[in-house]
Subunit: 715 residues, 2 copies
Amino acid sequence: MNDHSKGAFTLPGEAGYEELTLKMAEKWGADVIRDSDGTKLSDEITRAGYRIYSTICIIREHNAFAQAHPDAQQQSFLYSKPAVALGDRLEIRPLEGYFNEQFEINDSPEAMEYWQVWDRTVGRLLGNDEWEYSEGTVTLKNCVPFHRYSVSFLAWRVWEEINMYNHTTNHWTSEHLRQLDPRHPAAWEYLQQWLKDWCEANPRTDVVRLTSLFYNFVWIFGDDMRFRSRFVDWASYDFTVSPAALKVFEEEYGYALTAEDFINKGLLQATHRPPTRAKLDYMDFIQRFVAEKAKALVDIIHAYGKQAYVFYDDSWVGMEPCGKYFPSIGFDGLIKCVFSGFECRLCALAKVDTHELRFHPYLFPVGLGGLPTFSEGGEPEKDALSYWLHVRRALARQTVQRIGLGGYLHLTIGQDRFNDLIADIARDFRRIKALHEGGAPAKLPIKVAVMHYWGSLRSWTLSGHFHETDKNILIHINEALSGLPVDVKFVSFDDVKRGALKDVDVLINAGRQGDAWSGGNVWRDSELVSEVTRFVYEGGSLIGAGEPSAADGGDTLFALSHMLGVDMDKGQYACHASWQFEAQSAPFRVAEEAIGKTDGIRVTSGDTQVLLEKEGVPALTLNRFGKGKAVYMGGFSYSPAAADMLLDILKYLCGADGKGAGMADDPMVECAWFEKGRTLLVMNNADTRVTTKLSCPAGSTEATLEPFETRFVEM
Amino acid sequence: MNDHSKGAFTLPGEAGYEELTLKMAEKWGADVIRDSDGTKLSDEITRAGYRIYSTICIIREHNAFAQAHPDAQQQSFLYSKPAVALGDRLEIRPLEGYFNEQFEINDSPEAMEYWQVWDRTVGRLLGNDEWEYSEGTVTLKNCVPFHRYSVSFLAWRVWEEINMYNHTTNHWTSEHLRQLDPRHPAAWEYLQQWLKDWCEANPRTDVVRLTSLFYNFVWIFGDDMRFRSRFVDWASYDFTVSPAALKVFEEEYGYALTAEDFINKGLLQATHRPPTRAKLDYMDFIQRFVAEKAKALVDIIHAYGKQAYVFYDDSWVGMEPCGKYFPSIGFDGLIKCVFSGFECRLCALAKVDTHELRFHPYLFPVGLGGLPTFSEGGEPEKDALSYWLHVRRALARQTVQRIGLGGYLHLTIGQDRFNDLIADIARDFRRIKALHEGGAPAKLPIKVAVMHYWGSLRSWTLSGHFHETDKNILIHINEALSGLPVDVKFVSFDDVKRGALKDVDVLINAGRQGDAWSGGNVWRDSELVSEVTRFVYEGGSLIGAGEPSAADGGDTLFALSHMLGVDMDKGQYACHASWQFEAQSAPFRVAEEAIGKTDGIRVTSGDTQVLLEKEGVPALTLNRFGKGKAVYMGGFSYSPAAADMLLDILKYLCGADGKGAGMADDPMVECAWFEKGRTLLVMNNADTRVTTKLSCPAGSTEATLEPFETRFVEM
């Protein structure tokens, strides 16, 4: 019998710690050894019989070339802080306020064509004859006194952002790494040759681990330490821009993009906001470019008999694993660093043979938030356990092939609790993976569709990790869904209009007015509203959370208010009373602390049942509409109890009991039933010992579980 | 020497309690005796040597006429709750959900011309051939399935609203009173004759106290007790409407109003919202009509040698004491019931000879909120003191001629504490009034302008009493200002563009995005923004509170953000950091509990000083702009300490010390300096004994004040 002690685990090796590398590979059951950013593998390691991953960041580590070809570097549009004109002349230094180690003004003739100066008070684009630029300063003529003006301009990005982060956060002192734009013909020739040379020079590498492709997510630094990390969006495309790209776009799409398409009054184009048509076109344009160039690199790697895996972070922009061009690249594997369950589901969706999760914490003295992990005061085993509990329930639902770690292996010395925990996690992972190999676990007959602007392109994720997006209610819902025994798909509003609700039982819309998740002005589209109305009237269920379907201009703020039975008062209901209510008990389990309150929510119908109120505001409601039902939640914070509540709501809405998928009576315990192996995977999410009844199609039993225990109960 | 024991006090007399009436008149120093709604005066009272006010409500108490002329009754536009079409036909019963003792459908041919049916899903007005009405039901043909439809219609108002309130709240059982529309020719003839007859029959009446004119403020009842008081707006004009009025409007203004001008998607036209052009025209139209008809009544009253006072409440709509037509009516006096200081200032503004305040509590078993006052459990002296403390400080700033009470005098029997307190208040009032007669109290050289959509038309008030509007930050600011030794004026945005800031030191904008007080989309007007920018740049000061100058569509949400140094994030700043800050000490006194927090407020400049934060959100900030300054407050709740803070902020902004107007060192003590009488009026707002230094231009002294004491210190 397989003791699940070996395989499917990628260990970060470290030259100089050869003995430790081999010892830890044994302890954790590694079959692969990799290098990391800042570590090397020695011959002793690469010859030890393990498969070898070698990390390359294709667009950096070429400072000599970058210095010889400064116009091959990457760029971005930036905008100056609007300045108030006092007379008819005004001087603006556009780069003022930005971190001058990250940016340099691009005043080349090609770039200057794209510069813009705006009167932001009236929203007027100034003519080119109304301003001039010289040596870092734009001088405006003919200003209107007391109007505010700003300059949109192109800047070179002269410090690769991940390297910049490591220097500024972790006090690295090595040379600042620059990054090349593969759109630059000489750079692209150079990079291909460099990769060929690299493959030649690294015969023992089995897998080239690309970290990652070409364009970093957007990360703009300011010069003032009180305004340092000015803008960060994990899924924005602003760092892909260049005059050359804009010219090609214009040729291909028949219209020109301008600085304002990116700058958007200084608000930029964050992923959390509904995109413009121009932005969608531009994203498609970049995705095609990235896929084409990535495929060329993968072909080189394959030509050397190696596999190509890509790390899905950092310079990932344009790759879009759920997008339509990704499969054409030909990657052999996708590696996703994970803190959360939704990231596991996201990784598993990509069409590659190998899906690998890189667990946290990274073996590094400090973690992402700057708190100690593998240094004085850190408790890496606590962090690892906490992330594992999130990921475990998602792994129960969807298979991935591998897990691993990254960083400096020597930091594990003396961390026995951490090292033991990782060994346990690796063993549990292998056993779960083995169960999946016998077929997917049982699901309840519940099909959920999460509806937002991005649809399947942003399946599971919003923009980055949970802790970067946790002010958004939807990421909490996605995280809860990631471990539930139900079908989940992500649909856009256009998908809904094209019939995507056909096989859906429960439709979810969760966000804040005007964001991409709630949908913004898309809710002024009567076709969409009618289709959702039809869906619910005919027996579908709707879950709205936060400010669902909120848009100005209608007779209600929530376009779906007539089904939800609640609306939100932003002042427009001045002098109007709302229906008085008394909270009544819910027909499903309610995790009160998981439900939040949205100020201004009011009951708009005498039929609406308020199931929970917070400080007088309806926080959880239920309303019937035709044959369907609608649940409103003012807020939703992920926790195991919240996930249990969400499952209970879904079961109530769909009239399902949970037994078919395996279930525990205790809400802190989750199950997955693997029919072929006749095994009930039982996961205790509680930090206490729990005794609970377990049920599944093969019968029922009782079990007492240790805190956080993973149990494989053979029925 | 005057002991201030008599005069300027209006006592509510009561037939059957003649001895009590004369005793209380003596105790409270009354010079006038009045009747009230529900009480009569006997000959014994009217012959006792007092001036006599007689209350009449001109448009009610004519049920016989109303029954004979049902088309002379008043009306309103109402709308049906939108109903979802399931097929191509839909039936709607428009009156469903309304209180059928208040409303009856008006399906006369003149009224039907104004009915409308809307597809609210797309915002389409249906053609008259797409629906028909019969016996209480509108039947729609050719509906789009799953669209929502609603009917806007005219309804008779068959129960005068104040009478309806008294019946439904106080369990009155008398006949429901109806109300006549003076626009109906026969009703108007009848009312004039009725008034003449009344004057003939009441020779001993000195003052006809009109309670009030023709059209009640809007108060719409629903049939479900959980949705009873559906809509109430003290300053809305919706109850003035009729087909006849609409026809005249069309002739005079050259365009027709429609139901939708009133219904506004079911939201109606609340005073708290920015008005449409049509609403402004309609208000002007009604004001002219009301003034004309009121003048005719006043002329009748004058012809009988009586004076005409008007009570400024209930059916006051269209009278607008701060409007341009009010002086033409020729009233001799204006009587305002007051809970608050701002109401005192409001009353004092009107161009009449006599301004009279009717104090609260009303001599009635229960108060407005349904709580006991002159019944078991009530403490009327506490209520009276609390209102007096609000009014006293406003009386110190601006003179009114009279005070008084209303209601059932017999309820004062046994209420010795209340009776003694009223005697004290009356004495203090007379003494303050006497001081004013020697000239206005000293003011600081600070001119404040409060800027909102309504400008001077809504000086001091928003829409009704403090407790009806206390969710609006501006009413708290107005209440604080009502007792401060500064000049205050109320300006509209148009006024500002026309130069109203010329003599202003401090400009205040306080409200919530989209309301009439903040201003809504008026902030997209660059001319307005530039003018305020100029004002501050050149040395003016700006106080913004709540969501000042907030409007969608600009590069900042607050159009004045560049001066305030803060903006508000409603999601549009997704992925943008705000400036980090540390709160620093303020250059003025801060009443922390009076300052509120507006979620989403963020610092937008490194120069912004945060003076107070609440839960991480900047709640009070200071920023410099040019020669001027801007203060932002997330919220402001009126209290004596809040008023003290506001004064200290104004003094700081204008570089003034307070001595010129008289001041106490203790923030709970307010002063007013009357130069001619060389008297410092000293008011202790604290419920404790306070010892404080007092300063004024004539010198300084120290005093120990009893809780809430009013002291007249002669210097």
